[in-house]
Symmetry: none
Subunit: 211 residues, 4 copies
DNA sequence: TATGAATGAGGGTTCATTCAT
DNA sequence: TATGAATGAACCCTCATTCAT
């Protein structure tokens, strides 16, 4: 019976532990996103997570570790493949739209990224590399083959697929930055942007593109 | 003769003062760009500027004021109109190339912006507005009328000029972010990018765009 | 049993907390009294209280708050009513003696007041008002009615009770100042002073006061 | 002629120097009286005296020296003997009135004393002794012989002249403290106080003092 | 394991004093 | 001699981290 109890209680404990860890991580993400990494204090996070300051250190080594964990979790949450897999079936333009939709759809997460993660990432070489691989390269590695395939199949004109991929990613990052900076034009038309962007990217700005 | 001396000495003092102010500002920009705003200490800046800690406070009210001054100086340095004025004479594609060249040409300054300024800007509402107006809107106000004019003259297809302007700005910001993040693809081909981008923007990715 | 334990441990924690707060306050009072407010450093106080610098800030908002707390505690310690209540029963001269005894009896506290509190009080309008009400007016409000009553009952000659009250308070303050300044005459005869003062106040210096 | 010039210019220089020294001292006294010694900055004083910060150090060794000089000047300004010499001719009560008038008459100077000088005096043993001798003892040495003489001549009842002297001085100090603390009762009736005080001191509070 | 008080290194800032002009 | 910028020691306070309970 004692065994049964621990059989049951260990998972419960474990569950409670994970819940708490998530609460702390949520709190950290929220506070970091609000104030940025340095202005956010452990006290802020603990208060929001409704735990004691010290408790946080039972789950994370230090403040920096919280940031790492947030980055990791954001990376985990990325479900690019799943959501985009269908798009991969469709035509190029549909794929572009889906991509932009997916990437621009999570302004909240982007805000946390830009306010909390990016500043530290830019300044910490080791973190930068990790981040670059985990995000930029990882997504590039999804887009690139598709773009290349479309070029090969004649669906896209002959350009450097790697370059196009970077441009797409840059557009996404840049739009998020401008949006978080408070740009009204972008905010008002945010949901139309994927469509507009896909068209722009595909057709260009040349007048009367087709004879 | 006494007058002559003071005539000379007053400008000298003033000159020394300005030189020193610039030295401090340069140091601050460098340290901020290296470490980010919070990791940078006044001591760091003072040491690099080769002055005492206290001296900095003869020139700037406080650490934050240094940041403001850096932003202001970067804004001053912007010579968009001058350099682009000629481009305004040329055709659309040349204009695009010139714009991208001008914006992407100063990676060093961009790095300072992204590492030191942007993080604070994103987190400080008052600063954000100031920055947004001083940079985003100011540049948008230069590009937009041109784009609109070209649309009106049939040189560009009928799209929302405001939206196109934002997309161009986003591309620039995003490319700089990726570049500063250490992207090899972008770094290697950095100088070609203005041309590639202009073409992409103008012709789009559609194969055989012209019948 | 768990409950019992926490029943016991909570008060203990609370007790420890209060002890420490008092230790800090004692240390602050001592150091302020020795050096004055500005010469006293947080380090001094922390060292004397045998805590870390930062610990002080768990109990008090800032250095100024320590001063406020000292003032408040000194005010609390004032037990004028209790100790003087009996004196109120006796005749006028006994009352005077008791009053002076009570006010002059705490040279140590007076020293802290004069060295640490008064200088700040005189210079800070908001603090001055608070202090003036808490000390001067509060004690005046005790003495005045008594004096007035004695005048009404013919035990004292007809003078302005408010004025007499101020004179009594002034005497006390002035004597303490002179004493703290190191006056030997006062120090040697300090315990006789209440008696002498009461007589002087009651009989005056006129020779052969009574026919 | 050169000699004549320097004959004239040296005194002029000397005069200018003294004027400037006085301006600095006035400024210091004013600022100290407003803010207290520590809150007052050399910059404050220099600005008010309309000289450069560094100039002050051509006249005074350091900030503390300014305080010493102010104390010395206040002591010099004391014209107790002159003004009171006539009073010494009159009867006792007139002497008391004149004494109180003289001491209470200069609230402005008293404020400087209490706000700037006293706090430092209380805290600095060496300064305290100097101050005590220069003020308390010096004035005591004027009052005491007179009081003693009057006792000997039967104009005052037989009390300890030293004690009476201290009481008088204490009253003065205490009244000034209360006044500077903002007491309304004292402020309103300030000019009557010398008379009231003299009467009180002479006749006491006993009803029907004379048979 | 959770708590939250204690810790103390670190950093921004002030300001008396110095000194080159 | 007057100036006022440069200096840097000193100090208050914050906050990540530790640890006794």
């Amino acid at each position: 019976m004692d065994e049964t109890m621990s059989d049951q209680s260990i998972p419960r404990r474990e569950r409670l532990r994970r819940e708490r860890e998530q609460r702390i991580l949520d709190a950290a993400a929220t506070v970091f996103a609000e104030k940025g990494y340095y202005q956010a204090t452990i006290r802020d996070i603990a208060t929001l997570a409704d735990v004691a300051d010290g408790t946080i250190y039972n789950y994370f080594d230090n403040k920096f570790d919280l940031l790492i964990a947030i980055i990791a979790r954001l990376a985990e949450l990325e479900r690019l493949p799943k959501e985009l897999n269908q798009a991969l079936q469709g035509n190029v333009q549909e794929f572009f739209v889906a991509t932009f939709q997916q990437r621009l759809g999570r302004v909240r997460e982007a805000e946390a990224m830009l306010k909390a993660v990016l500043p530290q990432v830019l300044v910490n070489p080791e973190l930068r590399q990790r981040f670059y691989r985990q995000y930029v390269l990882r997504i590039a590695a999804m887009l690139e083959p598709y773009v290349q395939a479309q070029i090969d199949r004649g669906q896209l004109c002959a350009v450097d697929a790697r370059f196009v991929t970077r441009v797409i990613q840059s557009m996404i990052v840049g739009l998020l930055v401008l949006r978080v900076l408070g740009d009204q034009v972008l905010e008002e038309r945010w949901t139309e942007i994927p469509g507009l962007l896909a068209t722009l990217l595909f057709d260009g700005l040349r007048p009367f593109p087709r004879g």
